[in-house]
Structure formats: structure tokens, C-alpha cells
């Protein structure tokens, strides 16, 4: 072979799939890594606007190949320009910064050309990862299954019935069978005796429903960050409960010194002036439980978001109301959104209550949302104020 100084060959490479195979392995590993990025994914704002069903495009880092390397940002580099290039000229922006949303990833955008996959992820995929970490808090199972409901099921075929329920397919099959015994092929004539009707039976099905009482402080101290965090958390809570109950209702209770039931849009967009009296919201919630959502028919999930800044004289009453609510609810969740690490009067109230079904979590950053969800929906017997 080497007698020839050069050879040209054109072979069939179609079986050479190495690149594609290893590309698939890389993709597989990226998907695995998704689990580790859940913190970021859960707080991803894009999910809220996705209406829950569509594919979501999320930039996902391709896997990095770690090694000892220089810090690109602290190094001098060489480039080439035109004759006018002089000291002080800006030749590039650190464009990666723009891509990295707040609260995401550590040290992203180290170097020009950090690789991102625009990966398509279904909400369901993320849910599977997130919800596998969540559990419904200790439920009184009997209560759940006692709620039965009458429904009807078409599951029988009879020869007599009302014409509206005629089963055409079976009727025709009967006609064909009968005609065939007479030596005829095809559908032929349909007689009365061929008619078949669908009939229903009444069955009792266990029916479960839940109500989420979303309470939020809408006083002036709750800014857009606080509302965003609350919104994202409520979103995941309602998605999670929907997976576990046939029917989930969500009630939005906004409060400052007074509480009222508002629309979702109002809840998340409108702010009010004034101080904060949390007991007003708890009172309204209890009122709703009494009149509209009896614990015998509903699993009740009261969740309260606040920045913790309650009127001190109101705290005693809050303790009483919370204890009352805990008796009739599945749990009571309190999320304190406290990005400036302030002391909170309401937080102290919750610390003073010992109850296994009281779940509290402090959220400092967006990335604490997943932790809050895990705290709310855990099976553990006792929860202190975590993250404080």
C-alpha cells in the first residue's frame, strides 16, 4: 500500500455512528444533571407563563469538563483589530452575564463561549423530579376515602333500551351474524332482535377534593420580589395538589389590616397601603372553612406568605387562630419571604407554636423556593423554622 505516494478512497462510512452515540450519552448526562439543577428550574419564571402544558425552553449548560485552568477573567489575552485600535477600546462585553438570570448558577459565564443547550423540557418532566421529593403531610386516610360520590358508568349491553343509547357497532355485528347463518354476506337487513343498547350502572367512587387557602400580606412592605416568590410557590403547590386530588380549589385571600377574597390577578399585582394585621386573614380563612369548605368534605391547605412584619399587638390573637385552624386543616404552612434578613415578629409567633403540622420556611432567595416546598410537603413529625 505504501508503495503509492498517495491514495484516494471514498468509503461507506454509514455505520460509523460514534459521534452520534456519544452525543446521546452527553444528552443523557445533561438530563441527569437536571435533577441537580432543580433549584434553578423550580424558580424559573418562564414556567409560570407557560400555562402549564407546553414545552418550556430553558437554557441548560452542557456538561463542563473540569480541569485545572487559568481564570480567564484575570488573564491578559491577545486579539487583533484595525489600525485605529488603541488602549482603552472596548472590544467585547461579558455577554454571558446577560444570559444568567438572577439567582441562577454559581459563576456562570466565566468565559466567552460557555456552552448552553437550549433544551426543551416538559413541565411534566420537571414536575416528576420535583414531586418525587414531596409528600402529602400525614393525612387522615379514612377521611379521604369516606368522601364518596355517585357517578354513572356505561358498562353493560342489553337488548332493550332507549334509542338514544343504541350501540350501533354491536347492533350491526349482530345483524351480520344473523344474516350469515342464513347464508347472506354483508350487513343486510337489521331486525328488532339485532338491536343492542348501552346501559349504565350507578357506582360509588371515592372522591377527593382539596382547597388551598392562599393568604398573602399585600401591605406596602411586600414588593415585587416577595410577590414573585409567593406566586411561584403557590403555582407549584397547586400543581402538586392537583396531582393528588380530583378537584382542587384555590382561594386567594389578600390582607393588610383587613382581609378579603380577591381574584388571582388582583392578588399578585395589586398592592395596598397600610399596616399588617395577620389575624384578619386567619379569621376570614376560618370563616370559609366553617361555611364553605367543611373539613369532612375538603382537605384544607392554608398557606400564608408574609414578610413577617406583623402588628405586635396582634400576635396573641394569631396564635389562637392558627391553633384553631390546625385542628381542621391538613397543615398550616407559613412562608416568610425575607430577602434582607430582617427580624420578624410573626416568625417569633410561629416559633412559639409546637405542632407537627405547622410548617414554616424562610425564603431569602428565589432558590430557596424548592427548599420551602420540601419543608411544606414533608412527612416529618416536627418542623422548626428552617433556614433561619
Amino acid at each position: 500500500m505504501s508503495d503509492f505516494f498517495y491514495l484516494i478512497s471514498h468509503e461507506d462510512w454509514s455505520l460509523h455512528r460514534k459521534g452520534h452515540e456519544d452525543q446521546a450519552r452527553h444528552r443523557e448526562k445533561v438530563k441527569q444533571a437536571l435533577q441537580h439543577n432543580l433549584v434553578d428550574l423550580v424558580s424559573e419564571e418562564g414556567i409560570l407563563t407557560s400555562n402549564g402544558s407546553e414545552m418550556i425552553r430553558i437554557p441548560i449548560r452542557s456538561l463542563e469538563e473540569f480541569r485545572f485552568r487559568y481564570n480567564y477573567k484575570k488573564q491578559n489575552h491577545i486579539g487583533s483589530g484595525d489600525a485605529n485600535t488603541k488602549k482603552g477600546d472596548v472590544i467585547a462585553k461579558d455577554s454571558e452575564n446577560a444570559r444568567v438570570k438572577s439567582g441562577q448558577g454559581s459563576g456562570a459565564g466565566d468565559q466567552p463561549g460557555v456552552d448552553y443547550y437550549e433544551s426543551e423540557v416538559t413541565l411534566e418532566e420537571i414536575e416528576n423530579h420535583v414531586f418525587s421529593r414531596l409528600k402529602l403531610p400525614n393525612l387522615n386516610q379514612t377521611e379521604l376515602t369516606e368522601i364518596l360520590m355517585d357517578t354513572i358508568q356505561f358498562n353493560d349491553i342489553r337488548k332493550k333500551g332507549i334509542m338514544a343509547n343504541l350501540d350501533k357497532k354491536r347492533t350491526i355485528l349482530e345483524a351480520m351474524k344473523r344474516n350469515m347463518t342464513n347464508g347472506q354476506t354483508g350487513i343486510g337487513k337489521i331486525c328488532d332482535q339485532d338491536l343492542r343498547f348501552k346501559t349504565w350502572n350507578e357506582v360509588k367512587k371515592p372522591y377527593s377534593q382539596a382547597v388551598v387557602l392562599c393568604m398573602m400580606d399585600t401591605s406596602g412592605s411586600m414588593g415585587s420580589f416577595e410577590k414573585d416568590v409567593a406566586r411561584t410557590t403557590f403555582f407549584w403547590i397547586s400543581r402538586f395538589l392537583r396531582q393528588n386530588y380530583h378537584h382542587v380549589e384555590i382561594v386567594f385571600i389578600a390582607h393588610h389590616t383587613q382581609a378579603k377574597i380577591v381574584s388571582e390577578e388582583h392578588f399578585f399585582t395589586k398592592g395596598e397601603m397600610g399596616g399588617t394585621v395577620c389575624s384578619s386573614a386567619y379569621k376570614l380563612a376560618l370563616e370559609l372553612i366553617r361555611t364553605k369548605y367543611p373539613p369532612s368534605r375538603y382537605n384544607i391547605y392554608p398557606i400564608h406568605f408574609s414578610d413577617g412584619d406583623n402588628l405586635p399587638s396582634d400576635n396573641d390573637q394569631c396564635i389562637k387562630l392558627i391553633q384553631q385552624m390546625l385542628k381542621s386543616s391538613q397543615f398550616f404552612a407559613y412562608g416568610e419571604i425575607n430577602q434582607h434578613h430582617r427580624t420578624s415578629t410573626l416568625g417569633d409567633v410561629f416559633k412559639s407554636i409546637e405542632h407537627p403540622m405547622l410548617k414554616t420556611s424562610v425564603i431569602f432567595h428565589r432558590k430557596d423556593i424548592l427548599k420551602a416546598l420540601e419543608t411544606f410537603f414533608s412527612e416529618s413529625e416536627h418542623q422548626g423554622v428552617s433556614g433561619a
Partner: protein, 455 residues
């Protein structure tokens, strides 16, 4: 095909006339997928790894989007393999053939390539074959995890040690081992001989361990070849792990001269392809297409250096000042480091408008156009192939590494993710000393968490 054959014949003759001395050539015409596979793996026969798949995906994506295109792909081997994209036009192929003939000449005649394995295509196939067997025997995940770790350290070898006589006797022994392994490798190609191979390597290893014990175990010099050091001093490595480290080392040894001569090699090839194409009878259309293509290859970039462009400029300057004979001498003895140090002049820096830049706030800003600054920074960036210089400093149960700080800090996030890989290879706590904010810092990883303390 007929046109291509006659063009290749013609270009081969022209190359000879100019005094180029390439290896016999093997041109393979293949589809884009294959070109990009070879480009991302560095070799058609290399082992499987997700990082190659990632590179492949990226290259192919850029190709599909029309963002970039590989013009040439050539492998340092005898005979020398060059890959041509099946959708290339004739003139594109002419340019590539001319270009790779010069690369082939460079591979064959540059001193830094002298000790590279010219049968690497087969060796890598044998390596890949053995890794595949380990995957079957040990399990894919385990092998992959070990490969991840070995590859993370693969730049930390000493490419010159084979030629330095002062090596300890242990290492001389080690080199013999490598040679015998090579022989075994060839045997193993396409046969069932891997068990035989393992036996031999285990035996050789035991002998070598004895020698290590014979020498004082605590004698420590700064060993740059971290992979070799781990192979010699971690007695708990299993045979397959030992072999994977050998493979990682062997393959990096092979690629190292290409990393070290990137600017020269591309400059040399670009110089000759323009000269050789001038000798051809081109139609007007071909001439225009060639000019476009050539301009694209040599296009300078603001944020990074185009090695084709700079290398060409320097070689043209050498020809002007010293003549062609001297060019051939430079091609034979220099690497990028000495090439830039000896031949990058003020005129070239000014003419090419080279500048130095760095990050300032959220922007990258030009901070100097002084030619000596530019030259020195370029040289620094080529030291150790652009990798931080890290050696062992002490080892017993634990392994201590020292980063020889030369003014540029390591990237901490990467450092903290790489230490666990070293731990994986060493099997015990590893330390690394470096400098941050002008203070000495020691990082460590004990299998559970990273620790950082100022010392």
C-alpha cells in the same frame, strides 16, 4: 474524482518541487458527520467518551447553521491521513490538499514530532478496544467515571521526560514498560489477546513496584507528570485503571506537539497552500473562489488570535529577511514558544494590529498595544500548552500538589471540581497549593468536601 486525482498528482509534484517532504498521503472522502466526528475525537479510532460527543454536537450544529466549516483535517501518521468533505468543490479540495501536504511535511520534519507514534491510528484503535472490554467487564459507569478523572488531569504530563537522561532509574524502567506495552497493543488489535496483555502488564508492574520500594519512597522531587506519578505511587490502582492512565498519557503525548506548534504549523501550511495554488492554472471563477476561501481562513479575530494568520505573517517575514532555506530550518527546530520569541517583530505586531486586552468590569478592554507586551503575553500563553504548571510537592498517604504561580490565578470553581477527580485517582486526601489575591491558599478534598484555607 478524475479531476481530483489529477489535481492531487499535480499538487504533489509542486510540493516536491518546492522542497516539501511529506509522508505518503491517504485522502479519504467522507460525509460531514464523519469529518466532524474525526474533528471532535482527534482521531477516527479513538475511544468513546461523552465529552467527544459534546464537541461533535457543537461542531455539527455550527456546520448545520452555516456558522463554520472545517476546511482541513489531517492526522499525524505515516502514511498521513487527510479527510475531504464529500460536498467540497474541486477548488476547495485543491486548497485543502495543498494545505495538508504542508502539514504532513511539518509532522514529518519538525523536531517536536520526532518521537510521536506514527502508527497512532492503530494504537488508538487498540486503546479503544481495551476500554470497551473494560466497560463490558467492569461496568460502563465505573469506567466512564475513571476516564472522566484521568482526562481531567491529562494535560499534566511531562512530554519531554522521555528524552531527558537524568530521570531516575525507576522511570527508565517505566519507559521500558511502555515499549513492551506498545508491542502488546499491536498484538491485541482485533484479537482476543487482552487477557494476555493484562498478565504481562501486571507482571511488569510488580517488578516496577519493587524498584520503587528499593528507591527511597519519600524522595520527592517536583514531578510534573501527575498521571505518571499516580501510576507509580498508588498501589491500589487496579489493572484496568492503570491501563486507562497509560492510555490517557499516551494519547496526550501524541497530541502535545500539535498543541505546542499550533501557530507555526498553521502558518507553515497557509504559507505553502498559497504558493502552491499560484502554480496551478485556475479558471477565473476558481481564482475568485480560492481568494474568498483563503480570506476566510486567514480572517483575523478581535477576541482571539487566528493562528493561521499570525503564523503566515511570521513565516512571510522570515522569508523576506532570511530566505527560504532559513524557513525550512525554522520549520525543523522551533515550537510556538521559540518561534514567537525569535521571530515576532515590532513590524508584524503593528502591521497585524495586535493588542493585549483583559476584563475590566463587565467589558473586555484593550490595555496595551506595545509590541513587547504583546509578544511576552503571547509567549506566556503558550507556556506548557497554555495550562497551569502543577507538580507534586509531597506525598505519603496524602498527595500534595503545588501550582507554580506565574501571575495568573487559577479558576477556583474549576479547581474545586477537579480536586475530586484527583482524589478519585489517588484514593486519599489531596491538597493543592496556589495563590489567590497574592495570598497562599491550600485547597483540599478528603472524599467528602472541599476545604480552603490561607497559609
Amino acid at each position: 474524482m478524475k479531476d481530483l486525482t489529477s489535481s492531487i498528482q499535480e499538487l504533489t509534484n509542486i510540493a516536491g518541487k518546492f522542497g516539501l517532504d511529506p509522508f505518503p498521503m491517504r485522502y479519504e472522502i467522507c460525509p460531514a458527520d464523519i469529518i466532524y466526528t474525526i474533528g471532535s475525537y482527534g482521531m477516527p479510532t479513538r475511544y468513546h467518551h461523552w465529552s467527544f460527543g459534546k464537541a461533535f454536537h457543537k461542531m455539527k450544529l455550527h456546520y448545520d447553521l452555516g456558522m463554520s466549516k472545517i476546511y482541513e483535517l489531517v492526522i499525524n501518521s505515516d502514511p498521513c491521513y487527510a479527510f475531504l468533505l464529500d460536498s467540497n468543490t474541486l477548488i476547495q479540495n485543491k486548497l485543502i490538499v495543498a494545505h495538508v501536504l504542508a502539514h504532513s511535511d511539518f509532522f514529518k520534519n519538525n523536531a517536536h514530532f520526532k518521537y510521536t507514534n506514527r502508527k497512532m491510528v492503530d494504537s488508538m484503535a487498540a486503546n479503544a478496544d481495551r476500554i470497551r472490554r473494560y466497560e463490558q467487564k467492569i461496568g460502563r459507569m465505573k469506567v466512564e467515571a475513571f476516564l472522566d478523572a484521568a482526562m481531567a488531569l491529562s494535560e499534566h504530563i511531562d512530554p519531554h521526560q522521555a528524552r531527558i537522561k537524568k530521570r531516575r532509574s525507576v522511570l527508565i524502567k517505566k519507559e521500558n514498560l511502555c515499549a513492551s506495552e506498545m508491542w502488546e497493543l499491536d498484538l491485541a488489535v482485533g484479537s482476543e489477546a487482552s487477557d494476555l496483555h493484562l498478565n504481562v502488564s501486571r507482571k511488569a508492574k510488580t517488578e516496577q513496584e519493587e524498584v520503587t520500594l528499593g528507591a527511597s519512597a519519600s524522595v520527592m522531587e517536583h514531578e510534573k507528570d501527575l498521571l505518571l506519578f499516580i501510576m507509580e505511587n498508588n498501589p491500589n490502582l487496579e489493572d484496568w485503571q492503570y491501563d486507562i492512565l497509560t492510555i490517557a498519557r499516551e494519547e496526550m503525548m501524541y497530541f502535545w506537539p500539535q498543541i505546542e506548534t499550533k501557530i507555526m504549523n498553521e502558518g507553515w501550511a497557509s504559507f505553502w497552500h498559497t504558493r502552491m495554488i499560484r502554480e496551478l492554472d485556475l479558471t477565473t471563477n476558481e481564482a475568485v473562489e480560492f481568494a474568498k476561501l483563503n480570506a476566510a481562513v486567514l480572517q483575523p479575530s478581535t477576541t482571539q488570535l487566528n493562528p493561521y494568520y499570525l503564523g503566515l505573517k511570521i513565516f512571510e517575514d522570515i522569508e523576506r529577511r532570511y530566505g527560504r532555506d532559513h524557513m525550512f530550518e525554522v520549520r525543523e527546530v522551533e515550537s510556538d514558544l521559540s518561534f514567537i520569541r525569535n521571530y515576532l517583530t515590532e513590524d508584524i505586531v503593528k502591521e497585524s494590529n495586535l493588542f493585549q486586552f483583559s476584563k475590566l468590569g463587565s467589558e473586555f478592554v484593550v490595555n496595551s498595544t506595545d509590541w513587547k507586551t504583546v509578544r511576552n503575553t503571547l509567549i506566556e500563553s503558550r507556556i506548557n500548552g497554555g495550562n497551569p504548571y502543577i507538580t507534586t510537592s509531597q506525598a505519603g498517604e496524602n498527595l500534595y500538589l503545588l501550582h507554580h504561580y506565574e501571575g495568573v490565578e487559577l479558576e477556583v470553581r474549576y479547581l474545586e471540581k477537579t480536586l475530586p477527580y484527583v482524589y478519585h485517582l489517588w484514593g486519599n486526601t489531596v491538597f493543592l497549593e496556589t495563590i489567590l489575591e497574592e495570598k497562599r491558599v491550600q485547597f483540599s478534598y478528603n472524599g467528602e468536601k472541599i476545604n480552603r484555607k490561607f497559609i
